[in-house]
Amino acid sequence: MTRALFTHLAKDLRIEWRSKEAVNSMLFFALLVVVLFSLAFDPRGAFSRDIAGGVLCVATMFASVSALNQAWAREIRHQVLDAQRMAPTPGADMFLAKVLANFLFVTIVQIVLAPVFVVMYNLHILGEAWKLLLVLPLGTWALVANGTFFAALSIRSRNRELLLPLILFPIFIPALLAMVQATGAILTGDSDPTLWIKMLLGYDIVFTTASLLLFDVVLHAE
Protein backbone atom coordinates (compact mmCIF):
# COMPACT_ATOMS: atom_id res chain seq x y z
CA MET A 1 0.00 0.00 0.00
CA THR A 2 1.38 3.38 -0.94
CA ARG A 3 0.48 6.98 -0.27
CA ALA A 4 -1.22 7.17 -3.67
CA LEU A 5 -3.84 4.69 -2.45
CA PHE A 6 -4.90 7.05 0.30
CA THR A 7 -4.81 9.97 -2.11
CA HIS A 8 -7.19 8.19 -4.48
CA LEU A 9 -9.39 7.06 -1.60
CA ALA A 10 -9.60 10.52 -0.05
CA LYS A 11 -10.50 11.99 -3.44
CA ASP A 12 -13.24 9.39 -4.04
CA LEU A 13 -14.70 9.94 -0.57
CA ARG A 14 -14.61 13.71 -0.93
CA ILE A 15 -16.39 13.61 -4.29
CA GLU A 16 -19.01 11.22 -2.98
CA TRP A 17 -19.51 13.34 0.14
CA ARG A 18 -20.29 16.29 -2.14
CA SER A 19 -22.35 14.56 -4.79
CA LYS A 20 -23.86 11.66 -2.80
CA GLU A 21 -24.64 10.10 -6.17
CA ALA A 22 -23.58 6.54 -5.41
CA VAL A 23 -25.03 6.17 -1.92
CA ASN A 24 -28.34 7.84 -2.73
CA SER A 25 -28.99 5.85 -5.89
CA MET A 26 -28.01 2.59 -4.22
CA LEU A 27 -30.05 3.26 -1.12
CA PHE A 28 -33.27 4.07 -2.91
CA PHE A 29 -32.91 1.16 -5.28
CA ALA A 30 -32.16 -1.33 -2.48
CA LEU A 31 -35.05 -0.03 -0.36
CA LEU A 32 -37.35 -0.41 -3.32
CA VAL A 33 -36.28 -4.00 -3.90
CA VAL A 34 -36.70 -4.89 -0.22
CA VAL A 35 -40.14 -3.31 -0.01
CA LEU A 36 -41.32 -4.86 -3.29
CA PHE A 37 -40.19 -8.33 -2.24
CA SER A 38 -41.91 -7.96 1.13
CA LEU A 39 -45.14 -7.00 -0.62
CA ALA A 40 -44.83 -9.77 -3.20
CA PHE A 41 -44.15 -12.62 -0.77
CA ASP A 42 -45.78 -11.39 2.46
CA PRO A 43 -42.94 -12.91 4.47
CA ARG A 44 -43.69 -14.13 7.98
CA GLY A 45 -41.92 -16.39 10.50
CA ALA A 46 -39.85 -19.23 9.12
CA PHE A 47 -40.52 -18.33 5.51
CA SER A 48 -39.12 -14.83 5.98
CA ARG A 49 -35.95 -16.29 7.49
CA ASP A 50 -35.61 -18.63 4.50
CA ILE A 51 -35.75 -15.92 1.88
CA ALA A 52 -34.29 -12.96 3.79
CA GLY A 53 -30.65 -13.81 3.01
CA GLY A 54 -31.37 -14.08 -0.69
CA VAL A 55 -33.41 -10.88 -0.82
CA LEU A 56 -30.72 -8.91 1.03
CA CYS A 57 -27.95 -10.17 -1.24
CA VAL A 58 -29.89 -9.63 -4.47
CA ALA A 59 -30.99 -6.14 -3.38
CA THR A 60 -27.37 -5.23 -2.60
CA MET A 61 -26.15 -6.76 -5.84
CA PHE A 62 -28.57 -4.91 -8.11
CA ALA A 63 -28.21 -1.67 -6.22
CA SER A 64 -24.42 -1.69 -6.34
CA VAL A 65 -24.29 -2.01 -10.14
CA SER A 66 -25.31 1.61 -10.62
CA ALA A 67 -22.70 2.82 -8.13
CA LEU A 68 -19.99 0.68 -9.69
CA ASN A 69 -20.70 2.14 -13.12
CA GLN A 70 -20.74 5.67 -11.73
CA ALA A 71 -17.41 5.17 -10.01
CA TRP A 72 -15.60 4.88 -13.34
CA ALA A 73 -17.93 7.09 -15.36
CA ARG A 74 -16.68 9.96 -13.21
CA GLU A 75 -13.10 9.23 -14.27
CA ILE A 76 -14.05 9.07 -17.94
CA ARG A 77 -16.25 12.19 -17.96
CA HIS A 78 -13.51 14.75 -18.58
CA GLN A 79 -10.82 12.25 -19.53
CA VAL A 80 -9.49 12.36 -15.97
CA LEU A 81 -8.51 8.73 -16.39
CA ASP A 82 -5.95 9.74 -19.02
CA ALA A 83 -4.35 12.16 -16.56
CA GLN A 84 -4.24 9.36 -13.98
CA ARG A 85 -2.71 7.01 -16.54
CA MET A 86 0.03 9.57 -17.14
CA ALA A 87 0.92 9.68 -13.44
CA PRO A 88 3.81 7.46 -12.33
CA THR A 89 1.85 5.61 -9.66
CA PRO A 90 0.71 1.99 -9.82
CA GLY A 91 -2.76 1.38 -11.19
CA ALA A 92 -3.31 -1.16 -8.42
CA ASP A 93 -3.46 1.72 -5.93
CA MET A 94 -6.25 3.36 -7.84
CA PHE A 95 -8.11 0.06 -8.12
CA LEU A 96 -7.80 -0.75 -4.43
CA ALA A 97 -8.89 2.76 -3.47
CA LYS A 98 -11.96 2.42 -5.66
CA VAL A 99 -12.78 -0.98 -4.13
CA LEU A 100 -12.41 0.44 -0.61
CA ALA A 101 -14.59 3.44 -1.44
CA ASN A 102 -17.29 1.27 -3.05
CA PHE A 103 -17.10 -1.15 -0.14
CA LEU A 104 -17.72 1.72 2.24
CA PHE A 105 -20.66 3.02 0.18
CA VAL A 106 -22.33 -0.41 -0.03
CA THR A 107 -21.73 -0.99 3.68
CA ILE A 108 -23.42 2.33 4.51
CA VAL A 109 -26.41 1.24 2.43
CA GLN A 110 -26.52 -2.12 4.23
CA ILE A 111 -26.38 -0.43 7.62
CA VAL A 112 -29.32 1.80 6.72
CA LEU A 113 -31.14 -1.11 5.13
CA ALA A 114 -30.72 -3.51 8.07
CA PRO A 115 -33.37 -2.07 10.45
CA VAL A 116 -35.83 -1.64 7.59
CA PHE A 117 -35.18 -5.20 6.61
CA VAL A 118 -35.74 -6.56 10.11
CA VAL A 119 -39.04 -4.69 10.40
CA MET A 120 -40.39 -5.44 6.93
CA TYR A 121 -39.52 -9.15 7.17
CA ASN A 122 -40.34 -9.49 10.86
CA LEU A 123 -37.00 -11.20 11.42
CA HIS A 124 -35.90 -13.02 14.57
CA ILE A 125 -32.39 -14.36 14.17
CA LEU A 126 -32.13 -17.89 15.56
CA GLY A 127 -28.43 -18.55 14.86
CA GLU A 128 -25.27 -16.74 15.90
CA ALA A 129 -26.04 -13.20 14.76
CA TRP A 130 -22.45 -11.97 15.14
CA LYS A 131 -21.44 -14.17 12.22
CA LEU A 132 -23.39 -11.82 9.97
CA LEU A 133 -20.58 -9.37 10.69
CA LEU A 134 -18.31 -11.77 8.81
CA VAL A 135 -20.66 -12.81 6.05
CA LEU A 136 -21.89 -9.42 4.94
CA PRO A 137 -18.47 -7.71 4.66
CA LEU A 138 -16.95 -10.73 2.92
CA GLY A 139 -19.86 -10.96 0.47
CA THR A 140 -19.83 -7.21 -0.11
CA TRP A 141 -16.09 -7.27 -0.75
CA ALA A 142 -16.56 -10.06 -3.31
CA LEU A 143 -19.18 -7.97 -5.06
CA VAL A 144 -17.31 -4.67 -5.13
CA ALA A 145 -13.86 -6.12 -5.92
CA ASN A 146 -15.23 -7.94 -8.94
CA GLY A 147 -17.65 -5.17 -9.77
CA THR A 148 -14.97 -2.47 -9.71
CA PHE A 149 -12.70 -4.54 -11.91
CA PHE A 150 -15.35 -5.41 -14.48
CA ALA A 151 -16.76 -1.88 -14.44
CA ALA A 152 -13.28 -0.66 -15.40
CA LEU A 153 -13.16 -3.30 -18.11
CA SER A 154 -16.48 -2.25 -19.60
CA ILE A 155 -16.17 1.50 -19.09
CA ARG A 156 -15.06 2.25 -22.65
CA SER A 157 -17.97 0.28 -24.05
CA ARG A 158 -21.01 2.16 -25.31
CA ASN A 159 -23.32 -0.34 -23.56
CA ARG A 160 -21.47 -0.35 -20.25
CA GLU A 161 -24.64 -0.17 -18.12
CA LEU A 162 -25.79 -3.42 -19.70
CA LEU A 163 -22.39 -5.00 -20.04
CA LEU A 164 -21.39 -4.80 -16.38
CA PRO A 165 -24.20 -6.97 -14.96
CA LEU A 166 -23.80 -9.38 -17.87
CA ILE A 167 -20.16 -9.96 -16.95
CA LEU A 168 -20.37 -9.50 -13.20
CA PHE A 169 -23.39 -11.54 -12.18
CA PRO A 170 -22.29 -14.93 -13.60
CA ILE A 171 -18.84 -14.55 -12.02
CA PHE A 172 -20.39 -13.47 -8.73
CA ILE A 173 -22.63 -16.56 -8.54
CA PRO A 174 -20.30 -18.64 -6.29
CA ALA A 175 -19.98 -15.75 -3.84
CA LEU A 176 -23.70 -15.04 -4.01
CA LEU A 177 -24.45 -18.69 -3.28
CA ALA A 178 -22.07 -18.71 -0.31
CA MET A 179 -23.46 -15.43 0.99
CA VAL A 180 -27.10 -16.54 0.71
CA GLN A 181 -26.42 -19.94 2.27
CA ALA A 182 -24.37 -18.47 5.12
CA THR A 183 -26.95 -15.76 5.84
CA GLY A 184 -29.77 -18.32 5.71
CA ALA A 185 -27.88 -20.62 8.08
CA ILE A 186 -27.37 -17.78 10.55
CA LEU A 187 -30.97 -16.56 10.38
CA THR A 188 -32.55 -20.00 10.75
CA GLY A 189 -29.90 -21.51 13.02
CA ASP A 190 -30.38 -24.83 11.18
CA SER A 191 -26.80 -25.36 10.07
CA ASP A 192 -23.23 -24.18 10.55
CA PRO A 193 -22.28 -21.34 8.14
CA THR A 194 -18.51 -21.79 8.66
CA LEU A 195 -17.93 -23.63 5.38
CA TRP A 196 -19.72 -20.91 3.42
CA ILE A 197 -17.77 -18.20 5.22
CA LYS A 198 -14.50 -19.96 4.33
CA MET A 199 -15.65 -20.20 0.74
CA LEU A 200 -16.38 -16.47 0.68
CA LEU A 201 -12.96 -15.75 2.14
CA GLY A 202 -11.25 -17.92 -0.47
CA TYR A 203 -13.26 -16.30 -3.25
CA ASP A 204 -12.29 -12.84 -2.02
CA ILE A 205 -8.60 -13.66 -1.86
CA VAL A 206 -8.49 -15.25 -5.31
CA PHE A 207 -10.49 -12.60 -7.14
CA THR A 208 -8.94 -9.61 -5.37
CA THR A 209 -5.45 -10.90 -6.14
CA ALA A 210 -6.32 -11.60 -9.76
CA SER A 211 -7.93 -8.17 -10.17
CA LEU A 212 -4.93 -6.41 -8.63
CA LEU A 213 -2.55 -8.25 -10.93
CA LEU A 214 -4.60 -7.61 -14.06
CA PHE A 215 -5.75 -4.07 -13.39
CA ASP A 216 -2.80 -2.34 -15.03
CA VAL A 217 -3.59 -4.18 -18.26
CA VAL A 218 -7.21 -3.02 -18.08
CA LEU A 219 -6.22 0.53 -17.19
CA HIS A 220 -3.88 0.95 -20.12
CA ALA A 221 -6.01 -0.93 -22.64
CA GLU A 222 -6.96 1.15 -25.69
Partner: protein
Amino acid sequence: MNAIASEAGSTTLCARLDQVSKLFGSFAALKQVSLSLEPGRCYVLLGENGAGKSTLLRILAGLLRPSHGTVRVFGVSEPQQVRARIGYMSHAPMLYDELTAQENLRYFRSLYPGRACLTPAEALRQVGLDPDLNRLLGQYSQGMRQRASLARVLLSAPELLLLDEPFSNMDVESARQMVELLAGFRRGDRTIVLTTHQRSLAAPIADFVITLHAGRVASFEPGSPAIGGSESRGRWGDEPGSPSTDPGRGGSEQRRTTP
Protein backbone atom coordinates in the same frame (compact mmCIF):
# COMPACT_ATOMS: atom_id res chain seq x y z
CA MET B 1 6.33 13.75 -47.54
CA ASN B 2 6.04 10.89 -45.11
CA ALA B 3 9.40 10.62 -43.55
CA ILE B 4 10.82 13.89 -42.44
CA ALA B 5 13.27 14.11 -39.64
CA SER B 6 14.83 17.17 -38.22
CA GLU B 7 18.55 17.04 -37.98
CA ALA B 8 19.43 15.94 -34.50
CA GLY B 9 23.06 16.89 -34.74
CA SER B 10 24.83 16.28 -31.49
CA THR B 11 21.80 16.97 -29.33
CA THR B 12 19.89 14.19 -27.64
CA LEU B 13 16.46 13.84 -29.14
CA CYS B 14 13.46 14.39 -26.96
CA ALA B 15 11.31 12.05 -29.00
CA ARG B 16 11.53 10.16 -32.23
CA LEU B 17 8.84 8.53 -34.31
CA ASP B 18 9.92 6.12 -36.98
CA GLN B 19 7.41 5.06 -39.64
CA VAL B 20 4.58 5.22 -37.13
CA SER B 21 1.11 4.20 -38.25
CA LYS B 22 -2.00 3.97 -36.13
CA LEU B 23 -5.05 2.01 -37.17
CA PHE B 24 -8.47 2.19 -35.56
CA GLY B 25 -10.13 -0.81 -37.12
CA SER B 26 -9.67 -0.28 -40.83
CA PHE B 27 -9.22 3.49 -40.47
CA ALA B 28 -5.64 4.71 -40.53
CA ALA B 29 -5.36 7.78 -38.31
CA LEU B 30 -1.60 8.00 -38.89
CA LYS B 31 0.32 6.66 -41.87
CA GLN B 32 4.06 6.07 -41.67
CA VAL B 33 4.89 9.25 -39.81
CA SER B 34 8.53 9.86 -38.99
CA LEU B 35 9.58 12.79 -36.85
CA SER B 36 12.40 13.78 -34.56
CA LEU B 37 11.73 16.27 -31.78
CA GLU B 38 14.63 18.15 -30.30
CA PRO B 39 14.70 19.43 -26.75
CA GLY B 40 13.91 23.06 -26.13
CA ARG B 41 11.86 23.48 -29.28
CA CYS B 42 8.24 24.24 -29.87
CA TYR B 43 6.50 22.21 -32.55
CA VAL B 44 3.12 23.36 -33.79
CA LEU B 45 0.94 20.70 -35.39
CA LEU B 46 -1.57 21.92 -37.91
CA GLY B 47 -4.16 20.05 -39.92
CA GLU B 48 -7.84 19.72 -40.51
CA ASN B 49 -10.09 17.69 -38.23
CA GLY B 50 -9.21 14.00 -38.48
CA ALA B 51 -5.72 14.69 -39.81
CA GLY B 52 -4.20 12.70 -36.94
CA LYS B 53 -2.91 15.49 -34.67
CA SER B 54 -4.51 14.22 -31.47
CA THR B 55 -3.55 10.65 -32.26
CA LEU B 56 0.06 11.72 -32.70
CA LEU B 57 0.03 13.49 -29.33
CA ARG B 58 -1.57 10.52 -27.59
CA ILE B 59 1.07 8.20 -29.04
CA LEU B 60 3.83 10.50 -27.78
CA ALA B 61 2.12 10.57 -24.38
CA GLY B 62 2.03 6.78 -24.27
CA LEU B 63 -1.75 6.74 -24.12
CA LEU B 64 -1.92 4.96 -27.47
CA ARG B 65 0.41 2.38 -28.92
CA PRO B 66 1.34 2.62 -32.58
CA SER B 67 0.03 -0.15 -34.82
CA HIS B 68 3.27 -0.08 -36.79
CA GLY B 69 6.59 1.66 -36.37
CA THR B 70 8.51 2.69 -33.28
CA VAL B 71 8.33 5.57 -30.84
CA ARG B 72 11.14 6.61 -28.56
CA VAL B 73 10.61 9.28 -25.94
CA PHE B 74 13.65 10.37 -23.92
CA GLY B 75 15.45 7.43 -25.47
CA VAL B 76 12.94 4.89 -24.18
CA SER B 77 10.85 2.84 -26.57
CA GLU B 78 7.92 2.63 -24.16
CA PRO B 79 6.69 6.18 -23.35
CA GLN B 80 4.78 4.77 -20.36
CA GLN B 81 8.11 4.29 -18.60
CA VAL B 82 8.91 8.01 -18.74
CA ARG B 83 5.36 9.27 -18.23
CA ALA B 84 6.35 11.36 -15.21
CA ARG B 85 8.44 13.53 -17.56
CA ILE B 86 5.57 14.09 -19.97
CA GLY B 87 2.68 16.52 -19.52
CA TYR B 88 -0.42 16.00 -21.61
CA MET B 89 -3.33 18.38 -21.97
CA SER B 90 -6.39 17.24 -23.88
CA HIS B 91 -9.50 19.00 -25.23
CA ALA B 92 -11.24 17.99 -22.02
CA PRO B 93 -10.04 19.56 -18.75
CA MET B 94 -8.99 16.18 -17.26
CA LEU B 95 -10.09 17.44 -13.84
CA TYR B 96 -13.00 16.71 -11.51
CA ASP B 97 -16.00 19.01 -11.60
CA GLU B 98 -16.78 18.18 -7.96
CA LEU B 99 -13.48 19.53 -6.62
CA THR B 100 -12.03 23.02 -6.54
CA ALA B 101 -9.00 23.79 -8.70
CA GLN B 102 -6.75 23.65 -5.60
CA GLU B 103 -8.16 20.28 -4.56
CA ASN B 104 -7.75 18.92 -8.07
CA LEU B 105 -4.13 20.03 -8.24
CA ARG B 106 -3.34 18.77 -4.73
CA TYR B 107 -4.68 15.39 -5.78
CA PHE B 108 -2.60 15.23 -8.96
CA ARG B 109 0.49 16.54 -7.22
CA SER B 110 0.45 13.66 -4.77
CA LEU B 111 0.42 11.25 -7.72
CA TYR B 112 3.95 12.39 -8.58
CA PRO B 113 5.93 11.28 -5.51
CA GLY B 114 9.58 12.17 -5.55
CA ARG B 115 9.21 14.67 -8.37
CA ALA B 116 9.94 18.33 -7.78
CA CYS B 117 6.49 19.69 -8.50
CA LEU B 118 5.15 23.20 -8.27
CA THR B 119 2.73 23.84 -5.46
CA PRO B 120 -0.92 24.01 -6.57
CA ALA B 121 -0.99 27.71 -5.69
CA GLU B 122 2.10 28.39 -7.81
CA ALA B 123 0.70 26.49 -10.78
CA LEU B 124 -2.63 28.31 -10.53
CA ARG B 125 -0.95 31.70 -10.27
CA GLN B 126 1.15 30.90 -13.33
CA VAL B 127 -1.97 30.44 -15.42
CA GLY B 128 -3.63 33.51 -13.98
CA LEU B 129 -6.12 31.82 -11.68
CA ASP B 130 -6.73 32.81 -8.09
CA PRO B 131 -5.55 29.96 -5.84
CA ASP B 132 -7.96 31.08 -3.13
CA LEU B 133 -11.00 30.84 -5.37
CA ASN B 134 -13.17 28.43 -3.40
CA ARG B 135 -15.39 27.42 -6.27
CA LEU B 136 -15.94 23.95 -7.70
CA LEU B 137 -14.42 23.39 -11.11
CA GLY B 138 -17.85 22.56 -12.50
CA GLN B 139 -18.77 26.21 -11.94
CA TYR B 140 -15.79 27.53 -13.92
CA SER B 141 -16.14 29.00 -17.39
CA GLN B 142 -14.63 27.04 -20.29
CA GLY B 143 -11.66 29.38 -20.44
CA MET B 144 -10.97 29.04 -16.73
CA ARG B 145 -11.18 25.27 -16.99
CA GLN B 146 -8.68 25.38 -19.80
CA ARG B 147 -6.31 27.39 -17.59
CA ALA B 148 -6.82 25.00 -14.68
CA SER B 149 -6.08 22.14 -17.04
CA LEU B 150 -2.83 23.80 -18.07
CA ALA B 151 -1.99 24.33 -14.40
CA ARG B 152 -2.39 20.59 -13.87
CA VAL B 153 0.06 19.93 -16.68
CA LEU B 154 2.59 22.45 -15.42
CA LEU B 155 2.35 21.11 -11.89
CA SER B 156 4.75 18.22 -12.43
CA ALA B 157 7.24 20.40 -14.36
CA PRO B 158 7.29 18.06 -17.37
CA GLU B 159 10.14 18.09 -19.85
CA LEU B 160 7.87 17.29 -22.78
CA LEU B 161 4.63 19.23 -22.96
CA LEU B 162 1.91 17.88 -25.25
CA LEU B 163 -0.98 20.29 -25.70
CA ASP B 164 -4.04 19.37 -27.71
CA GLU B 165 -5.77 22.54 -28.86
CA PRO B 166 -4.80 24.63 -25.83
CA PHE B 167 -6.34 27.80 -27.27
CA SER B 168 -9.82 26.43 -27.83
CA ASN B 169 -12.55 28.16 -25.78
CA MET B 170 -10.21 31.04 -25.05
CA ASP B 171 -10.59 34.69 -25.90
CA VAL B 172 -7.77 36.27 -27.87
CA GLU B 173 -6.17 37.97 -24.88
CA SER B 174 -6.18 34.79 -22.77
CA ALA B 175 -4.74 32.82 -25.68
CA ARG B 176 -2.00 35.43 -26.10
CA GLN B 177 -1.18 35.15 -22.42
CA MET B 178 -0.98 31.40 -22.74
CA VAL B 179 1.49 31.78 -25.58
CA GLU B 180 3.58 34.00 -23.30
CA LEU B 181 3.49 31.38 -20.60
CA LEU B 182 4.51 28.63 -23.01
CA ALA B 183 7.35 30.76 -24.30
CA GLY B 184 8.68 30.98 -20.75
CA PHE B 185 8.17 27.28 -20.24
CA ARG B 186 10.27 26.38 -23.26
CA ARG B 187 13.39 27.60 -21.55
CA GLY B 188 15.65 24.93 -20.05
CA ASP B 189 15.45 22.43 -22.90
CA ARG B 190 11.77 21.75 -22.41
CA THR B 191 9.93 20.71 -25.52
CA ILE B 192 6.41 21.70 -26.51
CA VAL B 193 4.25 20.01 -29.08
CA LEU B 194 0.90 21.66 -29.55
CA THR B 195 -1.94 21.25 -31.96
CA THR B 196 -4.09 24.14 -33.04
CA HIS B 197 -6.33 25.44 -35.76
CA GLN B 198 -5.22 28.98 -34.95
CA ARG B 199 -1.82 29.14 -36.55
CA SER B 200 -1.40 32.83 -35.97
CA LEU B 201 -1.74 32.42 -32.20
CA ALA B 202 1.01 29.83 -31.95
CA ALA B 203 3.26 31.45 -34.53
CA PRO B 204 5.23 33.59 -32.01
CA ILE B 205 6.66 30.50 -30.31
CA ALA B 206 6.73 28.00 -33.18
CA ASP B 207 10.20 26.72 -33.98
CA PHE B 208 8.71 24.26 -36.44
CA VAL B 209 5.31 24.01 -38.03
CA ILE B 210 4.24 20.52 -38.98
CA THR B 211 1.17 20.10 -41.13
CA LEU B 212 -0.64 16.80 -41.11
CA HIS B 213 -3.01 15.78 -43.84
CA ALA B 214 -4.97 12.53 -43.79
CA GLY B 215 -2.57 10.97 -41.29
CA ARG B 216 0.59 11.91 -43.16
CA VAL B 217 3.11 14.69 -42.65
CA ALA B 218 2.28 17.07 -45.48
CA SER B 219 4.89 19.66 -44.60
CA PHE B 220 7.57 20.39 -42.03
CA GLU B 221 8.57 24.02 -42.03
CA PRO B 222 10.75 26.12 -39.79
CA GLY B 223 8.80 28.70 -37.85
CA SER B 224 9.91 32.15 -36.88
CA PRO B 225 9.54 32.36 -33.12
CA ALA B 226 9.12 35.94 -32.04
CA ILE B 227 9.11 35.26 -28.31
CA GLY B 228 10.61 32.65 -26.08
CA GLY B 229 13.90 34.19 -25.13
CA SER B 230 15.27 33.83 -21.64
CA GLU B 231 13.93 37.23 -20.67
CA SER B 232 10.36 36.12 -21.22
CA ARG B 233 8.74 35.75 -17.85
CA GLY B 234 5.92 33.59 -19.11
CA ARG B 235 3.45 34.56 -16.39
CA TRP B 236 -0.20 35.17 -16.87
CA GLY B 237 -1.59 38.41 -15.71
CA ASP B 238 1.29 40.53 -16.99
CA GLU B 239 0.08 43.92 -18.05
CA PRO B 240 -0.44 44.14 -21.80
CA GLY B 241 2.33 46.14 -23.32
CA SER B 242 4.71 45.48 -20.48
CA PRO B 243 8.17 44.34 -21.55
CA SER B 244 7.48 40.68 -20.89
CA THR B 245 4.39 40.61 -23.06
CA ASP B 246 5.81 42.60 -25.93
CA PRO B 247 5.73 40.25 -28.90
CA GLY B 248 8.84 41.83 -30.27
CA ARG B 249 10.89 41.05 -27.25
CA GLY B 250 13.18 38.09 -27.63
CA GLY B 251 12.49 37.96 -31.31
CA SER B 252 16.14 38.24 -32.16
CA GLU B 253 16.70 34.72 -30.93
CA GLN B 254 16.47 32.79 -34.17
CA ARG B 255 16.70 29.08 -33.63
CA ARG B 256 18.38 26.62 -35.93
CA THR B 257 15.81 25.48 -38.43
CA THR B 258 15.90 22.01 -39.81
CA PRO B 259 15.51 20.35 -42.15
